[in-house]
Symmetry: C2
Subunit: 455 residues, 2 copies
């Protein structure tokens, strides 16, 4: 241990090597429930590629596991420390190296905060679409690690669509360049995309070339109230089948609406079973909203209210963005599922979750990126109550089982981490797991990078 | 050999196993120049997943190399037979299994022709954007193998963006499911994207879940004439930096324009150095064209002519689509480069190619997906003239070297095949090659799938 620290200090400044347990404990885990992190031996905070290489060479020489880490806003335990590991925090590598409006790219270090990038590129009339709820805290490196999504995905896709090229420090300290700076490129296997969503288990991303888009007009939103999940799900299907591509198409159930009202006093309708927010950033958003309003009404909406303007729209989106925090306030602790199902099964998913909640006597609020079929059933419970906690954990797993039964996936955008390891095996099967393990061994033959995650 | 055929016939109907050399020779190679194919031992044309599994089990048992093949329209030799191999043609697996407008997906077999899919989904008001020039012949399986692009990419991206999930027969005959049917999904490493562009070297795609989009309005196009490559490149940069995203942004140089006129008698302007075609499929294409026309004029366009209507626009696009055939008619044979450079280096690329042509006394026409920086310098030569052929080959390589020098890639959308093997190593370097080889070994430990390609 003393030897490890000494070796690390041989290539890192003293302030980049933290060993005080009171300090390192703060870096031990991300925001996932039910997966207590281990105790790191040391936390390192490099500022340069060379320093990251030094850390990985040291880890290889001493056979010490390494857990790469961003802002620890993840929800699956993917950034959780294992006992005796080096936590490799990329937070200090936070420079935006380049924003190029002609190539429509940004080149960034992994510790750049998502919102900081968004603001920086906005000055050039550009946007970086992926917008996880934690966008004010989470880092691009973390986004790449978990293949993050957000509210934008129904129109703009997920992180994978925006990563053109990477620089990666491998487990043995060597530097790998993948991908490109150009708009297109297909030279060899797509290792860039392989790293996206690999949860730090294949290498440490130290630089990323990201694709940008022209900044769209401000989004105009409508709110539609439905008497049942079935009707709301039907509206989503009608909207997509009719050829609309909203910039956002979000859903909150009654439990979530109440929680948001309790937290924000926003006065959202609490008598409705499901509130749908549909937004457009097109040339004629009001026209698009009118068409979507008719489809909502045809699906059984009891009330459809278009926002007056962009400011009122932003207020509605703020309500949606506060959903998780609001649900956390209900009972102190939440477990957030991330099941994505085919759009046509959205109503089945919502009804199924309600049945699970009732069976276990639990409060489960559902908010969803409805346009993607990506639901976040959120189990609210009192962590101090072991019996309720056990029921919460049980219902969390039942929700994933339901998702798979409906032809969905256990994770639309949060990743596998430690929380869903067994579920990954259930989803992708033994052949898939065998090949994924094989890929892992190619990149990390000693198994030092984020051990115990994914598989 | 007799044993191989017997084993194959054990699980395939007789009409699916071709051994007559006069027949099998027709399946030996794709459309790439300078890479003569080998002689296949046998060509198999399975109709079912089980039959493909039988072929791969037989190949593994007899240690026979397998070359998976679509419509052989590839331009890099990726589908070329090696001596004594089994050519595994997927042409008879050509069923569109599902088109779902709510999920916006199609589920297809690999032998479905790109244009057939486009027409089938159009009936549902949907489109499958990737549109390689060979779209009337090429198959979805081949598109996935080479990660094909096309004219649509500047707005709609490449094949990788549209492949959600795959069924793949592995080298040993086992069946692998990757990805999903849902809009989002991040469960485990992205093996789906790893297969896209892997040129049949990791497994045989037998089914694909593809993402679709609502069919956009018809594209309205303008033609802008420029006195120099520099001015045309400048226009491209201005258009992109100004926040426009055309549905097409194509370029033809003077050599190409002449060739197209000779072939089609279309009367395109031959005095111009570079003709730019910019097209929009937005809500207000005429307005977008007006804005782009001003930018073209500011960049030095001598003439800007918007098409009267969609029909006239389609005529202009037809001219662009006939470019490669037209250039082939110039001297009988062409070598088509596929270098993609940053947009800001487009003019340097065009000028550099002109210098290479002059130095070698060759005719090299350039057409380009200019909005992507993806150029197709096309060397026209007489294959019966060994000396000219040698110069053609030399210039082909010099063009790739120039592309790398300008920060580009050796292949934007055609793939590596056998033609650019050494160049792949130059582009991605020894660490990249080592890892790519490692990945290959995980999926195909005996090295039976499309040996001698990529590396």
């Amino acid at each position: 241990m003393a030897d490890l620290i000494e070796r690390l200090l041989d290539g890192l400044p003293a302030d980049a090597v933290l060993t005080d347990p009171d300090v390192t404990r703060a870096y031990a885990g991300d925001m996932a429930g039910f997966c207590p992190p281990g105790e790191p031996a040391v936390v390192v905070l490099p500022r340069t590629v060379e320093q990251v290489q030094h850390v990985m060479r040291t880890a290889t020489a001493t056979r010490t596991p390494v857990v790469p880490q961003g802002a620890r806003t993840g929800l699956s335990g993917g950034a959780n420390a294992s006992d005796g590991c080096i936590v490799l925090s990329l937070l200090r590598m936070d420079r935006i190296l380049e924003v190029d409006p002609v190539e429509r790219i940004a080149v960034v270090e992994p510790g750049v905060v998502n919102a900081a990038l968004s603001r920086a590129v906005a000055e050039h009339g550009l946007c970086y679409p992926p917008d996880p709820s934690s966008w004010e805290q989470c880092t691009i490196g973390g986004n790449i690690g978990t293949a993050s999504g957000g509210l934008c995905c129904v129109k703009y896709g997920v992180t994978a669509e925006y990563v053109l090229g990477l620089e990666v420090v491998l487990a043995d300290g060597r530097l790998l360049h993948t991908g490109r700076r150009t708009a297109k490129g297909v030279a060899g296997y797509d290792l860039t995309r392989l790293f996206v969503g690999s949860e730090g288990s294949l290498g440490v991303v130290v630089k990323a070339v990201l694709a940008l888009r022209p900044r769209p007009p401000r989004t105009l939103v409508l709110a539609a109230e439905f008497p049942s999940a079935r009707a709301a799900g039907d509206a989503v299907c009608r909207i997509m089948a009719d050829g609309h591509t909203p910039a956002v198409l979000e859903l909150m159930d009654r439990t979530t609406l109440r929680a948001v009202n309790d937290l924000t006093r926003m006065g959202l309708p609490e008598t409705t079973e499901a509130l749908l927010l549909a937004g457009f950033d097109t040339a004629d958003p009001a026209g698009d909203l009118r068409a979507v309003a008719l489809l909502c009404e045809a699906a059984g909406a009891v009330e459809v209210v278009p926002a007056e303007d962009a400011a009122e729209s932003e207020l509605l989106m703020k309500a949606r963005r506060s959903a998780l925090v609001a649900l956390e306030a209900v009972k102190g602790t939440t477990m957030i599922d991330d099941v994505c199902v085919p759009r046509a099964r959205l109503a089945d998913m919502l009804d199924g979750v309600a049945a699970i909640a009732e069976r276990h006597g639990l409060t489960i609020g559902v908010c969803a990126h409805a346009g993607d079929g990506n639901t976040h059933p959120t189990v609210c419970f009192d962590a101090a109550d072991p019996e309720e906690s056990a029921r919460a954990r049980l219902s969390f797993d039942e929700i994933m089982a339901l998702g798979l039964e409906l032809g969905g996936t256990i994770t639309g955008e949060h990743g596998v981490g430690v929380l869903k390891k067994e579920w990954l095996a259930r989803e992708i099967g033994p052949v898939g797991i065998e090949l994924q393990r094989g890929v892992k061994e190619v990149f990390d033959p000693l198994g030092l990078l984020n051990p115990g995650k994914l598989f």
